[in-house]
């Protein structure tokens, strides 16, 4: 074991500056998100975009590069790598690399924990948040490991990644053209089922390729395994039509009456109901021929609708909701689906999440569109509709305001 740690120490020494950069990026994301949460109106946009960029660009890219860096110093492809001529077995090297990869997955959690604790997270929220953060790095590793083990250098890793990305893009395009055809008719249960199967196939393929490389160094065989797995994943995405197995299926949502929450459509307006608060952060009319409204929602941990897991809370399909913008000018209304940001923030046992609503008056409003949209939305009301039958409340024409049945 000590020799395994010896290899781990060597890798940490080699990657120390990248790790430092990564830690700074992780801390930066949290800091920006924390600042963003304290701001209202336009002030938040800059921090929101910065936090988004950190969370969706910098951190994944650095995390992906770290996996490459792990393998770059000790290639497991054929050749005379330094480690192969020393008393180091493939098993020992694999243990060291797996250990460090696991530590890499834990680092984002370790960095976030003090922040979560300082915001009074309970055990439940801590666990959910940890799983959420852990999952991101695990997914990155799952993508990077197969490319790392078949590449003899960093340059080849980048090349292989690009080839893989092009292949995936091709498959997505093919899927769009052949199977999906833009109709979005595949039931959610089938999509969930496909997602799990694809994930399992890829995990098995990645593990097999890694074992083959560490123990046998047969790169061509590993490439064949990965290509086969990619085709298998594609086949699943095309033709798998069964719903999720019982174990993976989510519990059905009990019937519930639609809930309507009404808030004036102006910046800073808010309304609270059952401990949950909906706040309008910004409202930008006629922006690229749309009306863009950003809404912040907060929900205490004690709330009965507090999600069992963060991913569940971020899945609109599981708890359908949408917003209706009703004008007081002529009583006409527009509907927008919720585009919920996956970045949720927990503070003081309350979770916050931000939604961006986009309304399309030129497309959706029945009758003539006012030349100046400003007066049309002055004094308008934003109605949040949620619940299992919320979809029934989608509006296609003139309606009564204040939550009346359409």
């Amino acid at each position: 074991m000590s020799l395994t740690w010896h290899i781990v120490r060597k890798d940490v020494t080699r990657l120390r500056w990248v790790i430092l950069l990564w830690v700074v990026a992780l801390a930066g994301e949290i800091t920006l998100a924390a600042i963003q949460a304290t701001l209202d109106a336009e002030g938040h946009v800059l921090f929101y975009m910065a936090a988004w960029t950190f969370g969706n660009v910098f951190i994944p890219v650095i995390g992906y590069g770290l996996v490459m860096g792990l393998q770059d110093d000790d290639p497991v492809t054929e050749g005379d790598s330094f480690w192969m001529t020393r008393p180091i077995t493939g098993g020992r090297l694999l243990s060291a690399k797996a250990l460090l990869a696991a530590l890499f997955c834990l680092v984002p959690v370790a960095i976030s924990v003090p922040f979560w604790l300082s915001h009074d997270f309970g055990l439940g929220a801590l666990w959910k948040s940890s799983v959420h953060v852990l999952w991101r790095q695990v997914l990155i590793s799952l993508l990077a490991v197969p490319f790392a083990v078949i590449s003899s250098s960093g340059a080849k890793f980048v090349t292989n990644t690009l080839v893989g990305a092009v292949a995936v893009l091709g498959m997505v395009l093919l899927y769009r053209m052949v199977a999906d055809n833009g109709a979005h008719t595949t039931p959610d249960a089938v999509l969930v089922s496909r997602g799990w199967i694809i994930l399992c196939v890829w995990i098995v393929a990645a593990a097999t390729a890694a074992l083959n490389q560490f123990y046998r160094h047969r790169t061509q065989r590993s490439v064949a395994i990965l290509v086969t797995a990619a085709f298998a994943c594609f086949a699943v995405s095309m033709w798998w039509d069964s719903g999720a197995p019982a174990l993976l299926a989510k519990a059905p949502v009990p019937d519930s009456a639609p809930v309507l929450v009404e808030v004036p459509a102006r910046e800073g307006a808010h309304v609270s109901r059952d401990g949950r608060t909906v706040r309008v952060i910004s409202l930008i009319p006629d922006f690229s021929r749309t009306i863009v409204v950003e809404v912040s929602e907060s929900e205490p941990e004690s709330s009965p609708s507090y999600p069992a897991s963060l991913s569940e809370g971020s899945t609109p399909a599981h708890r359908p909701e949408h917003y209706v913008l009703v004008s007081q000018d002529d009583g006409r209304a527009l509907t927008a689906e919720v585009t919920r940001s996956p970045e949720e923030l927990h503070a003081d046992r309350v979770r916050y999440f931000r939604s961006t609503l986009v309304f399309y008056p030129y497309r959706d409003l029945q009758g003539p569109v006012p030349s100046n949209i400003g007066p049309w939305i002055a004094g308008a009301v934003l109605v949040k509709v949620e619940g299992r039958d919320a979809a029934l409340f989608k509006l296609n024409g003139p309606t009564e305001r204040n939550g009346g049945a359409p």
């Binding site: 000590s2 020799l3 010896h6 060597k10 020494t13 080699r14 110093d73 054929e78 050749g79 005379d80 790598s81 330094f82 192969m84 001529t85 020393r86 008393p87 180091i88 077995t89």
Partner: protein, 304 residues
Amino acid sequence: MNVIETSQLSRSYGRADALHGLNLTVPAGSIFAFIGANGAGKTTTIKVLMNLLEPSGGVARVLGTDSRRLSPREREKIGYVSENQKLPDWMTVRQLLDYCRPFYPTWDRDLEAKLLKQFELPPDRKIRQLSRGMMMKAALLSSLPYRPKLLVLDEPFSGLDPLVRDEFVRGMLEVSQQSEWTIFISSHDINEVEQLADRVGLIDAGRMQFAEPIEGLMGRFRRIDVTLGNAEPSLQAAPSSWLEVERMGNHVRFVDSQFTQDSFDAYRAERFPDAEAVPVPMKLRDIFVTLAKSRRGQAVAAAS
């Protein structure tokens, strides 16, 4: 006991055969020079011995173990230095030694310090900043302090200037004086290893041509210069041990590959009775050139 032993070893790259039924034995305690032209199969043989490549057929045994099953216990007794090997070049020389040390229970820190000083390597310089010669010395330095039973060197002198080469050799001799070990050194240039080796083997086109002690080899090879008298020499049905037989006017030259004083006296009396025949000792390099030409000639003849 043989430290290295191969039997009918073969290795192919796709359709190209790099080794054809290679049989090789390297006795313990010897310094074995593995000679061959570029592309003859030296590096492939070494990679199979070190389990960096799997053989397509046959068996290679190193320290009594099948090369495909070399465990850390055997690796602790093997040193490997290759011109192709990628060292962790982000490390300093000291970091390289610190990294290697724990893997070898027999690592001798005094010897490490002595060799570090002898090789004049800057311990705090990164390996990527070292010259090629220094890099090879760093590789050797990381392979000597645990006193390996077998040191495998793949073209270690390629591209090194004579001064660095001498330091390299002195470093190896330093250890060889203190421990029982075997050196297996490959080179395409016999001059590089002549002073070091006590056994030599020639590989050509993936086949072992011969392997024997240098002393014996040099003892049985002589260039025979014959100045003819009046009698016409009998060159018909020359023995197969005569190589590169050529006649220029009243001179005949050939290489006797099975020279003994008795046999020389016998054929001189029989074939060149009134001629003056002088046996001249050959340099190792000349022996190899003669053999290589001869083998190639045989191959061409066989093919035609």
